[in-house]
Every structure is written in structure tokens, then in C-alpha cells.
Symmetry: C2
Subunit: 764 residues, 2 copies
Amino acid sequence: MSRKIVKSKHFFEEDFIEAIGEVSTEKYKAWEPNDKLKVIGKPVSRIDGYDKVSGSAVYTFDVNLPHMAHARILGSPYPNAKIKKINTKKAKELPGVLAIITSNDEPKIPWYYNTTFLFDSHVRCVGDEVACVAADTDRIAEDALRLIEVEYEELPFVVDAGDAMKPDSPKVYEWGNILNGKPGIYSRGNIDDGFKEAEVIVEDTFSTQVAIHNPTEVHCSVVNWDDGKLKIWDSTQAIFGVRDQIAGSLKIPESDVRVIKKYMGGGFGSKLEAGKYSVIAALLAKKIGRPVKITVDRKQMNLIMGNRPDSYQKLKAGAKKDGTLTALQHYSYGAVGAYPAGAGCSWPLRALYKCPNVSTEEYDILINAGRARAFRAPGHVQGTFAFESLIDELAEKVGMDPLDFRLKNYTKVDPVSNEPYTSKLLKEAYQKGAEAIGWYNRRKAAGVGKGNLKTGIGMATQIWWGGGGPPAYATLKLNRDGSVQVIAGTQDLGTGTYTFIAMVAAEVLEIPLNKIQVSLGDTAVDPYCPSSGGSTTAPSVSPAVRDAAEQMKAKLINGASAILELPEEQLKYQNGIIYNSKDETQKIEISNVVQKMHERVLITTGARNENPKGYQANTFGAQFVEVEVDIETGKVRVLKVIAAHDIGRVLNQKTLENQFHGGIIQGLGYALMEERLIDKNTGKVLNINMHDYKMATIKDTPEIQVIIVSKGDSLLNYTGVKGIGEPAIIPTAAAIANAVYNAIGVRIKSLPITPDKILSTLYS
Amino acid sequence: MSRKIVKSKHFFEEDFIEAIGEVSTEKYKAWEPNDKLKVIGKPVSRIDGYDKVSGSAVYTFDVNLPHMAHARILGSPYPNAKIKKINTKKAKELPGVLAIITSNDEPKIPWYYNTTFLFDSHVRCVGDEVACVAADTDRIAEDALRLIEVEYEELPFVVDAGDAMKPDSPKVYEWGNILNGKPGIYSRGNIDDGFKEAEVIVEDTFSTQVAIHNPTEVHCSVVNWDDGKLKIWDSTQAIFGVRDQIAGSLKIPESDVRVIKKYMGGGFGSKLEAGKYSVIAALLAKKIGRPVKITVDRKQMNLIMGNRPDSYQKLKAGAKKDGTLTALQHYSYGAVGAYPAGAGCSWPLRALYKCPNVSTEEYDILINAGRARAFRAPGHVQGTFAFESLIDELAEKVGMDPLDFRLKNYTKVDPVSNEPYTSKLLKEAYQKGAEAIGWYNRRKAAGVGKGNLKTGIGMATQIWWGGGGPPAYATLKLNRDGSVQVIAGTQDLGTGTYTFIAMVAAEVLEIPLNKIQVSLGDTAVDPYCPSSGGSTTAPSVSPAVRDAAEQMKAKLINGASAILELPEEQLKYQNGIIYNSKDETQKIEISNVVQKMHERVLITTGARNENPKGYQANTFGAQFVEVEVDIETGKVRVLKVIAAHDIGRVLNQKTLENQFHGGIIQGLGYALMEERLIDKNTGKVLNINMHDYKMATIKDTPEIQVIIVSKGDSLLNYTGVKGIGEPAIIPTAAAIANAVYNAIGVRIKSLPITPDKILSTLYS
């Protein structure tokens, strides 16, 4: 597994790490760059596009079963309370109500910590599950919720992480408000020595808000029991994960739970684990002997289905006068809500640049609010905002261009593990991004320019994992007519998974895309694939598909060899036809090979290769942003975003760009407007609907240009692909913040960058 | 592949062929006899039993899709006519009618012969498809049929095979009424020499009626198009066959057609091929852009969805005085209806006994009636009735006991191919069946006894294929908790396929049945399995499942070897646990092996082995029947049936007996009451419903005892299984006819044996 260093006439002097043309594993030759491939890398429309635009695509909510009942959950109105009594009599009397379950019901199913339960008599946030009604219609179920009489004993509560850290704060659990009772600690080198060595030091405090995932499709399950076996249609990013979690909760074999997901309208991490609602629906369905559809409405989603935790971050950085980093320090805390989750956000500081002395300390704080969940690049979005803001501050103090400062501290090995990267083309990304935005023409001094409208350019860097890995499998079936089916246990979140799978098979077997069908999202029949989180789907699944297709090709050549009575070495495979390379008039179509082999269907199962040992697989990128700030209204408008990334090989240029557009717009909303607000007096969330919780729309969307610098990370896997879902959003807010500073000369250190913050900072 | 000859102290002197304990292939040791196995051979209740009795099993008719339309077919009222004009205007105006297709529509889709079409302007039998309506409801569709105005030009017709063979008969096709224009001919030896050699000759004529399959569930499809891809839920015995046939008709890739069948209520051969109705529904669904459910009602099923063709059979047999057969001759014809099918029925005569000189000549005759289709042991049921009746006649004339006569002509090699059988334990079946019925105590002279009620005992022999073969595959997934999923592209017709698949996996992996789930009947995701016809399902699929399970076991042992750091040879697999055979305290559960291998799911795909070359695979059996005949009313009551068969290894004693019970009751109905009646003047079928078409019910059901003599045909395949669906019905009618003769001393040579035939034969 040697690597080839490709010399480049780049304006940065250092070599790039590139592995194209190498044999990535013992098994297959790495693919050529995309311009030499037939299908991979082209902008291909989704093969499931028609289904979606025609409305024939079946989302979980579209599943309707005969005699299906509908379920709705009653959430707690209080942020912290003990349930003294639940009276469901009136609700049960409502015509159409079929069953109600509450914390009164046995057996109790342990949930978080194994000390809290599916229905707990202690509710710890507004929206916490109190009861669930199954009824003939959704409307009746909702009406019945209002007839359930609950007697609560209200308890003192805390909804702010800073407050929760104070000794006299109300406790979310009797053992305290700090998860695990202590911070997460990381250090390398000696931080004190690092700061001693420093000639320039900056120190600053940043904060970020709680943001809500808000995928288009709300969380929903349809469940049905057959003979002790549970079938669940679920809007989920993890069919096998949900299966195993629910099997565990209900104490039944994993094979007795079948999770199905065909189409979904996004998840962003909020659908990475099984929801209580699915298990609740399963219990109700068993109780009433009917299928149950349970829908979590937008309000409940905003309350309890996850969020990006807020952060309070104190950073300190030291450098020599030439810009060499000597020390980086990070202290942070964030509110994970009432149940365990992670709020750590120091990774970008640990891993982005070469720096010998680093120390981080981070606290996950429990408060009486909805629980955090993984949200598109968890930790990295808030961490990158703070750290890349501070790096800009430090560059300015040293007197260097921010990009030159970053290049000065560029690293070719992972600073945390000291292992080399499978590939890292960040320099090329810097170069191309800088060129595209016109970086070196930007005004050097911040805040200058005439009139109310100030423009500025900023940038920020991104690091993420997203290398994927085994186990991941794909099965390929070749029919007698040469058409193909690919089956994999992954799930398309809406990102284009169906399409790239077909493209990989089409590339290897050299057949048209319309002869390939893809089946995903059914634990009963699909070979295992991992959860779709952490940007791992494409880098895990696409190599398995290539493996299955290459095996099929080998099988076909072997079959053709017997049929044509020629040695395999003398055969040439091209466009689904196998030729005698010495006499191309002698040939056989692959469909004909299947028939002549007396097979109806040829079957292969491919597996994802092991990741190379001793390497780190990461994605890298930089976003360059131009903004316009109205210093009279405080309004920020993002004019242009250049996203220049090394994310390995591009599978589908079209869905790749879709992902970047989505990530950047979501990052823009996070930077400028999104924020969950909780009233400290009542513990209630003030903006639980799409009207009050502001998200970016098409009117906020800037010009976006996506530049991918890599031709494929062939050291990593058979397709050279790394994940792109999360990299897209990571640097956006940081780059916007740096651009705002470049425009107006003052730095906003608290997200979102709202007009009031701009104006109060400008004119304070 | 040597075979072991097991000596037996049987009252018949010849050796039995038995292969138990042999290595059937290079791959696996043959299983021990069932009494040494844990699961296989036991009477296991269906794993899908709860689904069925609770009503939660989804049959095709239970599939309801949003916005689904309903379609009904208009059949021709005439047996032979040209359609001059079809006016659908009034029908289209009926509110709720969505679309109508007729022979006016282009493009024409070729069907039988490629000269007739899906909708043909020439209808050739009552019920032939003329038009199809799609409407909002089934009721509206049916009402609309009555509003379609069709102008027919009636043509002369023929509905009787004997009539159709006359030169002046109306022609079903202009080229004539004999399929292929000539008879099917078979001969071996020299038939004239054979009869010269004979010392005793009998000659007789037999006839059998047309019988209708009448499975419980009518034919039905639900179709839906997504983006050019066709999804069909179909009540079918052949998901892949239907898929490929429909893809061919519609000229789309096979992978674009997905056929699904989860549960069905029987087929008996009438659902072995794609129906016109499925393609019609697909066309309508495309036209209206909505899913379509199409149901063939009981009346249409009786008219055009297939039948067992009738037969006219002239037989002649010669033997020496010692009973040695010297010549067998068979001439027959049968009506296949208006479209190509097979009516041949001479196979039992060719293959049942050793006889050097054989000649057969058989005609498939076209008439203006619904087409024949394969029906549970096609040809063999009618052929066995005639031939085994004649053998009894010959035995009597020679002066031998009928069973002794058969033993005299017993063959250990297939008389047609001269190849040995993979196994043949018919002698043991004869012995055990004869013992159970009390054969040697039966009254030797026919027709004696006092009073009106005469009892008699008869028997008949059965031969069938049912050895199955490749290609057939099964995929096995082992989950982290030790639970298992098996996936195969076969279909459970209601015979217990789900259950035996789970049993095979349970046997090999030594885990409880309730940890195994089975998924079948979906062409998109299942590995290929053949059609379920010809009693091939269990002998094709069960070995593939064993192969998958054995591969899994090997994978687990290999994994455990690495984990325990012990050589594989030192490991012992027992009850889902792998032990160090030298120290059984050191052990690991298979679930733990999966986890330690860092796998979520282990996957294997097994394949059916090739059949052994140079052998014939057949099933054999004899049924012994006791009847009571009331010579005053002519009514026959079957008192007892002993079914003694060699059908290889029993997989599930319970579903095996179910199959025999079903086959015997169906055979009894065929022998005594079932008969499609056509009015020669109008060409109309007179009994197209279950009231007028008489089938046997529980009140007609005799005591049935099933005796299986084989312990497993290990030369044939990994499980030693042969098929049982068809053997069960083959000898029943013949044995009943012979028993009736034994009871009353006159022979009824025409089925069904109705009271009027008994009385008119007795008293003529």
C-alpha cells in the first residue's frame, strides 16, 4: 500500500498527497480519474426522481394498512415534575379510542441510563412522554389527549447550561447536572510550555445556540404484529440499528423485528436511533391487535426529537511571530438536555492544524429541556465557528493573511494520532477556493468602504471523518435478459443513495443505468449495511457494490470462457459483451452467458474492504464566503459561497452538489437566524413551529460554487469515495462570521449573527 | 457416488435400493435418518399458522393501495366468434369508469402462438377476453361490463374432442384441431412381437372428464407502476416466471418488473404461468396512472383459468401366463381447449413396470373451450386410472393377485431411459400398504357379499418425477443475537414452504425454530428459486437452504477458531455453541462469534447441487383403498385410504400428511363427482360455480393413513428430499376404481364413477 506523490505546479510549494492510479488493496485496481470513467462522476438525475415528483414514492406516512389505528403522544407541560396520578377514564370513554398506555402500565421498559423508563413517572422536560392514545383516527387520538387528567407535582427546574453548572442549581438528576460527573479532557504536549513559547496570544469567548434538525418529514412509524413478529415502517437513518434497539427493548429476537424504510424526507441525525414513539406504537399495536401509525408532529419534533446543543467556548491560542502555532486551549460546555448526549466541540481545534501543545476540557450539561442528538457534523459546526474565528483573530494579531496563517500550520499527519492521512488535498482546495472567490483582492482592512452596505470576504476550514468502513454488504443479481438488481441494507435519506448504487454497478458492468434496479431499506431481506450517519453511507456501501459487480464480472468471464472455449486471459469485457480479444467477431452478450450457464439469475455478494491500517481517513475543505452587511439595519446577506473540498472521488456530480447546497444553506440559517428559545421562567420553548423558528429559505440562498479537488482516495476503499453529508455544513457559519468581520470590522462571537447583535456590537 | 444396498428381511425377496448414510455429493455427509435428527421429520406446526388463522396474513386480494382502481374482464358469451365492433361509449360514460381496453387498442401484444393476441378480435371459447374496465370500485367495473356493446359474428364451433377429430368438424384454427398436426409417438422394443409373445391379452377403453383446479383463492393481481417500473402482487406459483413473462410481453427489462407473493390459497398448476389478466391490469394501470387490482371471479376461473383435460384412452396389454408383461399399447386423445396445452397421459404405462415392448400414440385436441393447464400431476392422474385399471384386468385374466402381478413386473431401472433410479423403495411401500389395509384378507372374488352395501379393496401404483434440481438459491443471515433470517425466491402455495425452510436451517445450526424468520416471494430481493410446479419446491429449495446453513456453520467455526485460538478440528459445534472438544468449559455462543468478528450480520448464499448424472429421480407409491358401494343407490363411499409412498426424506410430518390428505381428497372428488359439463348446442359451460360443480368435502373424506418408507434419497441432493405434492393424488382414482370393481364385480371405465354409471353398468 505505497502511495505515489504527485508533483504539482501549484502556487503553494508543498507536495500534494494523491493516490490515484495505485492499487488500493490486493483485490482491485483503483478506478481511473472520473473523466476516464463512463458513469461515475457525471451529473446523473436520481433514478427515484420520478417516484418522488409524481407522488408515487411511499414514505412512512404513506403506509396505510387495513384496520390501522392512529396514535398520539401526550407530552409533559412542565420541565420537571413528578406524575402523581393519571386518570384516563374520560379519554377512554371517547368513542373511537382504542387503548391508552401511561407510566401506570407494566412492565416498565428501561430507556436512558436504565434508570429512566419508556414512560417515566418523573418527567424531565416539556414534551416528555406521559401517555399515548391509540384511536380509530388521528383526530380522535389527539382529542383524547386533552381528556387525560394528569396530576403533576411540579419541581424546580433549570433550562440554561450556565445556570445548571452553578452549585445551587436545581438538579436534573439527584446525582447532578454534569454528565458523567466530570469533563472530557484531552491534552498533548505541555500547554503551559506552549504558551510560554508563544510570542502572540489571543483569547476569546464564543457561544452558539440550540438548533433544531427540522427535516422536511416528521418522525413517523407504522407498526404491525404478525404472530409475535414485528414489522415497522420507520422514517429512520438506521434500519438495522432501529431493529436491534427495538428487539432489545421488547426482548425479542432481532430476526423477529423487520424494519422497512423506502423513502424519507431527511433526518440530519435526528433519526439515527430508535424513537420511544416506535416502541410505544408497538406496545399499543399488540394491545389492540391492529396496526398502528404514530406520528410525531412538528411541535413534538421541536421539543424532544433532538437538537444541536448550544455551546459556551473559551479559547486561547498562542503563536510565534512567524505564525507558527505553539499552543491551543479550549474550554467548553453545552446543554445536552434532560438525557445523555454529547455537546463536545473541541475536535476542530485538536485536529485542524499542526500544533504541539493542546489542551481541551468540555462539559456535557444536563438541563430540563429536550435531549440533544447528533446533528449534521455534531460538535464540529459549533467548534469550527469558534476556533476558525479565533484563528482569524490570531492571524490578524500576528499580521498575516488568514489563509497564509493556515498554510503556515498545515499538517500532513493527523496531529491527534500522528498517523498519516489516506489522502489530504486541502492545499489544493485552499488554492482553488481562494482563486474562485478572489481572495487576494479582498480588502485587507476590515470594515472599510462607503455607504451602508459593507461587503467582506471570509473563509474557514473543515475537517471530518466520513471514511466509512466495514461491515457493509451488497448483493447483485444479474437476470437472464442482462438486467440487474442491487440489494443493500442501507437507507436513502434523500441524498441519492439509490442512484449512486446503480451508477457503481453500471460503471463496472458497463450496462445502461435503466437496466439496474436498486432495493434498499428492509432488514428482513437486505444484506447488512451500517447506519447512515457520520457521512459513512457512500464510502461504506459503494465499495461493497463495486466488489459485488467485480465478482459478477469475474463470474461472467469465467462462464464465457467455458462457453466460448477460450482461456479467460483471452477474453475482453466491454459494454456488457465478452469478446475474444484475438477475434472480436467471436463474442457473447452477458445475458446470453447467464442463459448458457443454465442460470436464471447469477448472484454475488460484495463486501466493503477493511480500512488501511495505520492511516487516518478524513475529509478536508474550505469555504470562502462573501457577505454584504447593512450597517443601518444590521442585516447580513450572504452573496456567494465557494465550497472547495477534498471528499475523495465524486460519485454523482449532481447529488454531490445537492448535498453541498443543502449543507451550506443549513449552515447559513445556523449562522444568521436559527435559534431555539426557552423561557427561563416556565421552561417552555417559545418557538416550536416553523413560523417562529426561522430557517433559511430560497430567498436567503446565495450563489454557491462547489469545487472538488480529489480524484479518488484509492488507499481508502475500492471506489475512492469519502462522505460528503457533513463536510458541507461544517465551515459555513465560521466563514460567514469571518466575512462579517471583514465587512464591518467588528466580530460577532455569538451565533446566530442577528441584526440586533450587529447593531449593538457596532454602536455600543 | 456409489450406493449401498441394504439387505432387508422383507417378505418380498428382492433387495431394496437405499442410500442412507452415504455421502451424497463431495460436499456434505448425508443426514442421518429422521429419528436421529432434531427437527427434520417431526410434525411441526406451520410457522405462518398464526398469520393465517388470525387473518393478518396478506394475500394478494388483501393488498390495497392508495387510489387503487379495480378492473373486471368482459368474457365472450360465444364459443367461437369474430368481433365485428366494440362500442364502449356507454360504459365509459358510467360515473366511476376510468378506462376500458379492448382488441381495438394498439399495440397488440402477442400471446399464444404469437398469432393470437392479449385481446384478439377472434374469440375461441366462452370467457375469452374481450374487454377490460378499470373503475373506482369493483362494482362499477362489473356494471360497466354490461354497458359494453359488442357485435359478434358467430362461427361454427366444436366442444368435444371426439367431434373435433372428425374431418368435417368446425376448425378452432384454420390449420386444424390437432395440436402440431400430429400425435405424440413413443415406442420401445417391437409392439407386434410383444403381443405375439403374449399368452394373455386384454384390451379396453377408458375415459376421464375435464376437472377444474378450483383453488380456494381466485386468481388476482394488484399492479402499480413507479417510474416505468412495474410492481405486481400476484397469486402465483412462479414469481420469477411471471416476472420474466410479463417483462417479455411488455418489452421491459426483467429487473423493472417486481413480482411479490406472500401468501396464497393454492394453485394446483392453474397459477404456474402469468395470466393475461396481470398484463391487462398493467396496461390499465399505466393508462390511468393509478394502481389497479384485478380479480378473476370463480366463474371466469372455471371458464378460462385452466383445467385437467379429459381423455379417451384405448389400452392393450399382453403377458405370459406367469404374469410377465410382454407388450403395452396406448392410444389416447384429450381436449386441450382453444389454446396450446398438453393432454398426453401415457407416461405411467411407459414407466411403471418392466416391459420390453411399448407403443403409445397421443393427440392433443383443440376445441372451443377454456384451455387446459398443468393440474396436479398432469397426465398421470388420468393415465394411471386407465392403466392401473387395465393391469387389474390383466392380473385377473392371468389369474394372479393384482399386487403379486405388479411385483412380478417390478423394475429397478427406469424402463424408458434404462438408467437406475436414485432410489426406489416401492416394494417396501407395497408391503406396508398391503399390511395396513389387510390386503391378503380381501375377498378374492369381486362382487360377493350380502345386502345392498358391498365393500371392496383396490390398489394402484404411482410414479412421478419431483426430484427438483438447480438453479435454486437461499440466503441466510445470522444476526448478532443469534437469530436467523432465510431468504429465498420460492413461493409458499399454502403447502408449508416457510416452515420447512426454517426447519432445515434449525437442523443444521441447531437453534430453536422461533429464532428463524423466512422471507419468500419477492423477485426484487430474493435469490432465484424455480417455479413451484412438478413437486419440485422442497427438493430444489431445501438443499440450497442446507448449503447456506452449512456454509454459515463453517464460517462460525472458522471465526471461533480465530477467537478461541484453537484449530478448527478441535472445535465442536452443538446447539448453537462452539466448544473446545478437549475442554468443554471453553466455549462460545454463535451470537458471540458474530459480535467478536465485528460483524452485525453474517451472510451466506447456498445453492442446490447438480443432480447425479446417469440416474433418474422419481417418486413411487401405492394407495390401497377400501370402498363401500350401495348397489341400490349406486353411491360409492370411500372408507379408508392407505397411502404408502417413497418420496424421499420427510421434512415435516405434519405438512406432509396435509399434502397427502389434500391430494387424496382431491383424487376422491375426481374419481366420484367432479366434472365440467359443456352444452354441445351452445358451447356454454353448465356448471361454473361451486354449487353446480361438485367437489369433495369433509363429509366425503375417508380415514387416511400415510406411510412413508424412505429415510432420504441422499444420492439426489443434500437433504434427500423428493416432492410430494403430486404423488399424493396420482393413484387415488385408479385405486378407488379397482376397489369398486372388487366390491361389485363390474368395472366402471369412465370417470367420475357416479351412481348412474354404477347402476346402469350393474343392471344393463
